[in-house]
């Protein structure tokens, strides 16, 4: 199981090294991976259909209660089959669609990565691993959407999708953490079984909110819907795979998975129904105004996702059954329609409805696929779409009394979607063929077979719904959280539901006849985009960039002294706070008595030389006074029992001064570059800092000193290292490696000096 889930990643990894061999004909071979996976998952279907669930667990981070636990029940099996099944077709289709593309190998690698992440999402039982795979789908879809990376629009929509879904991921993590807090477990199944009531927890509202945002962003619900139509810039196989069948359904999956855990409360169902309802209506209206085939499909997908959210929100037995079936139904016909659109685009060179027509003459098999998919979408018997649509109406009607509004919403949406489906699936093939399309070629087999297969499957399942009855029941059970006894049938007899279906059909077909999508009408609709969430988000993004730039140029301005100034100011403030908030300025005056006359003289000399170095205008004088200061320090070392230090300081000081003198003649004159105001400000800061340092030191000196380390060295210097000069023993023996590294540093600095001086830098960058 672990291998099955991760095989996509393995594939991507292998592609990174061997990709160039798979760019040609061999690319079809890659499809074997999803096909095998599909078969692998298919073997579980009979088991799962009988109501069993399977658990596979692999330890990962036991200390944090994070394991790879894969849970296979109806819901996750349905998704797994969709992912691998449609994945197989998309892989095959891609091999033809993107034939000889320069980066075909990359594309397959991304697809593989995405497939694996998606499987991980739907199979993970652990909410933390669920989150990780969730994020991986966002990342891999980013690469897929932005695959045409030379197009600015493509990059933009990829980024948009990443930002939106990534935001959702963040919320999911929050939800996962909170759920873990409440139930003391990260396993969804354990949460379900533990019986801990999450509703009664004070965090329930927050968890709901987080889950909602996560699911709505992923599944393109209003007001986060806009990334999905934007993502249509991706190659069609991507749109098919990500945006019809799998990724956008991840949010649905999340809601469906959480439904038994969190559902049943008004907060849950009302929110979902409101947002789902708005989305399905809003997107359906948008869909019929588009002229781009893929845009129509994108909006109708958003609308369909709205329906699913709506159904899950409703939470009745019937609505959940409708949702279980509709996931499958929608995936079948929408993927089929997307692939049809892709082939049309590929062969006819345009996706614009205005310019398409009469393609049945050359693309007959494709036309059949389109037709079948469209009627399945329309819910015309005997397709599975009809069964699905029936169930939706049953669900909305089933909710007692006052909820006629829902039925109305569902009705309008379905009418609009029907028209949209016809636009996408039938219109390009009917009517007279424009001259521009005369040289359209017939599509290769690999480009019409996958959509046809899907569409035919939709028909077959409609004729024999019993085939998937057990399976749908299993899905339904996972949604319900209890065993389902649902029954699927094509024919329910004459009743209100059938009437509604007929109304839908009649009005939808009429609408399709009446409607003539055109660019002008699209422009009219697009004027309202200004108020849409997309513009708000873009505005926020721009503001963020602006803010970041302002902050950066304020702080990272490239002037060393501003950095130093900022750092020291802050440090001074910190010290000031510490000193003010409790310091006892106790000075042990008895210790001051050790200051003898010669020390006072040395201090005065140091002070004088420092002041001189600061205020002199002669560089030589500054260097000389620096030397004097160094020698004074050297004397201090002599007084305070550090002969080694004194010797070293003396030698180094001599060398430094020599160095300065050697170089100094080649250095610029000392100039007073700053204004007096700035000098005063800097002086004030420096003096304050110095003062605080002094106070701190005095404070520290009042503390008792810990001499363990030095005592150890003193005791063992002779015993272990046979030396009597402890300082030297420390250097060459106890801390030998430090010294070793130190002389290496010295060597590097010498090499640096040598290289710097010997290199010739001739150009003057200021000249330009």
């Amino acid at each position: 199981m672990l291998i099955a889930v991760l095989s996509g990643f393995i594939l991507a990894f292998i592609m990174a090294f061997t990709g160039r061999w798979f760019k040609g004909k061999l690319s079809l071979l890659l499809s074997s991976v999803p096909v095998l996976l599909f078969l692998y998952f298919l073997q579980y279907s009979s088991t799962v259909a009988q109501g069993e669930t399977l658990l596979f667990s692999y330890t990962w981070v036991p200390s944090m209660d994070i394991d790879f636990v894969f849970y296979l029940d109806g819901l996750s099996l349905l998704f797994s089959l969709l992912i691998t099944g449609i994945g197989s077709l998309v892989f095959i289709y891609t091999a033809a669609y993107m034939k000889n593309h320069e980066y075909l190998d990359r594309f397959f690698a991304y697809l593989g990565m995405f497939m694996a992440s998606m499987l991980g999402v739907v199979l993970s039982d652990n909410v933390v691993t669920l989150f990780i795979f969730w994020e991986l789908t966002s990342i891999s879809s980013f690469f897929l959407i932005g695959f045409k990376n030379e197009s600015a629009e493509s990059r933009k929509s990829a980024l948009q999708a990443l930002v939106i879904t990534g935001l959702g991921g963040l919320f999911l993590l929050g939800a996962a953490a909170l759920l873990g807090q409440i139930t003391q477990s990260y396993s969804i199944q354990e949460m379900l079984q533990s019986g801990i009531s999450i509703e009664s927890s004070p965090l329930y509202g927050i968890v709901l909110l987080l889950i909602f945002v996560a699911a709505f962003t992923k599944s393109a619900q209003f007001p986060f819907h806009f990334w999905l139509p934007g993502a249509m810039t991706a190659p069609t196989p991507v749109s098919t795979y990500l945006h019809s069948a799998t990724m956008v359904k991840a949010g649905i999956y999340l809601l469906a998975r959480m439904s038994p855990l969190l559902g049943g409360q008004p907060a849950w169902s009302l929110t979902l129904m409101i947002f789902g309802g708005i989305t399905m209506l809003y997107a359906a209206f948008h869909a019929i105004y588009r002229t781009d085939l893929k845009a129509i499909l994108a909006y109708s997908t958003v609308s369909a996702l709205g329906i699913l959210v709506f159904l899950i929100g409703m939470g009745t037995e019937k609505s959940l059954l409708a949702a279980s079936l509709f996931i499958l139904v929608h995936a079948l016909y929408k993927a089929s329609l997307f692939l049809v659109a892709g082939t049309i685009d590929h062969e006819a060179g345009t996706r614009n409805l205005d310019q398409l027509g009469g393609l049945r003459k050359v693309l007959m098999p494709l036309a059949i696929a389109g037709l079948l998919a469209a009627i399945s979408n329309a819910g015309i018997p005997p397709t599975i779409g009809f069964v699905g649509k029936d169930l939706i109406y049953e669900a909305t009607l089933g909710t007692d009394s006052t909820l006629w509004l829902f039925t109305l919403v569902a009705l309008i949406t379905n009418i609009l979607l029907l028209a949209a489906g016809f636009l996408a699936g039938i219109k390009p093939f009917t009517g007279p063929m424009p001259d521009a399309l005369k040289d359209t070629h017939a599509a290769p087999v690999l480009m019409w077979l996958p959509p046809l297969l899907l569409a035919v499957l939709g028909l077959a399942l409609g004729l024999y719904p019993a085939m998937i009855e057990g399976f749908t029941r299993a899905v339904h059970s996972s949604l319900l959280g209890s065993t389902s006894t649902a029954h699927l049938a094509l024919w329910h007899g004459f009743n209100l539901v059938l009437l509604l279906s007929l109304v839908t059909l009649a009005l939808g077909v009429t609408l399709y006849m009446v409607i003539r999508p055109s660019a002008e009408r699209l422009a009219k609709v697009e004027r309202f985009e200004k108020f849409s969430p997309k513009f708000i988000l873009n505005g926020l993004g721009a503001a963020g960039t602006f803010f970041a730039r302002a902050i950066t140029s304020l702080l990272q301005n490239g002037y060393l002294r501003y950095y130093v100034f900022t750092i020291i100011s802050f440090l001074t403030l910190l010290m000031a706070y510490k000193i003010i908030s409790g310091v006892n300025l106790y000075i042990d005056y008895s210790r001051l008595s050790i200051l003898s006359a010669k020390e006072i003289i040395i201090f005065s000399i140091m002070l004088a030389s420092i002041l001189f170095a600061i205020f002199t205008n002669s560089r030589l004088a500054a260097v000389a006074s620096m030397g004097i200061m160094g020698y004074s320090i050297c004397l201090l070392f002599v007084f305070f029992s550090a002969p080694d230090l004194a010797m070293t300081q003396f030698a180094i000081d001599t060398l430094t001064v020599i160095l300065f003198v050697l170089v100094l003649y080649h250095l610029p004159k000392y100039l007073v570059l700053s204004e007096t105001g700035i000098r005063l400000r800097d002086a004030a800061l420096s003096i304050t800092f110095g003062l605080f340092m002094t106070i701190t030191i005095i404070e520290v000196l009042n503390e008792p000193v810990d001499k363990i380390t030095s005592a150890y060295y003193a005791e063992n210097a002779y015993k272990l290292a046979k030396g009597k000069n402890i300082v030297n023993v420390i250097l060459v023996d106890f801390r030998g490696i430090d010294t070793m590294i130190e002389i290496t540093v010295l060597a590097i600095s010498a090499v640096g000096v040598f290289g710097l001086l010997k290199s010739k830098v001739n150009e003057n960058p200021l000249k330009e």
Partner: protein
Amino acid sequence: MAIMIGVLYAAGIYMILRRSMVKLIIGLTFLGNGANLLIFLLGRITKGKPPIIPSDASLLSDVYADPVPQALILTAIVISFGLQAFAIILVKKAYEVVKTDDMDQMNNTDRDDHEG
């Protein structure tokens, strides 16, 4: 002594805040010396008792100056010499190339593609 360190720190920071690169190096030297003295002082200073075991004994019995800070400072002094040498040469080379000692003007050398 503590006051002296404070003065050294103040002087060092003041010099670093200047625009001249030569002053920057002198400031660094001040800071380095200040830090050395700070470490030295924090090990507590003792007069006339170097941490050297008398030749006729194998243990230090008397009060002695702390050898650990001394060892630290010894390396610090030598390292700071390396640092100073490198810095001086860097300044000299930079001056040769851009003909200015003013760090503000140096900033402009790599600012072609920025808005500033």
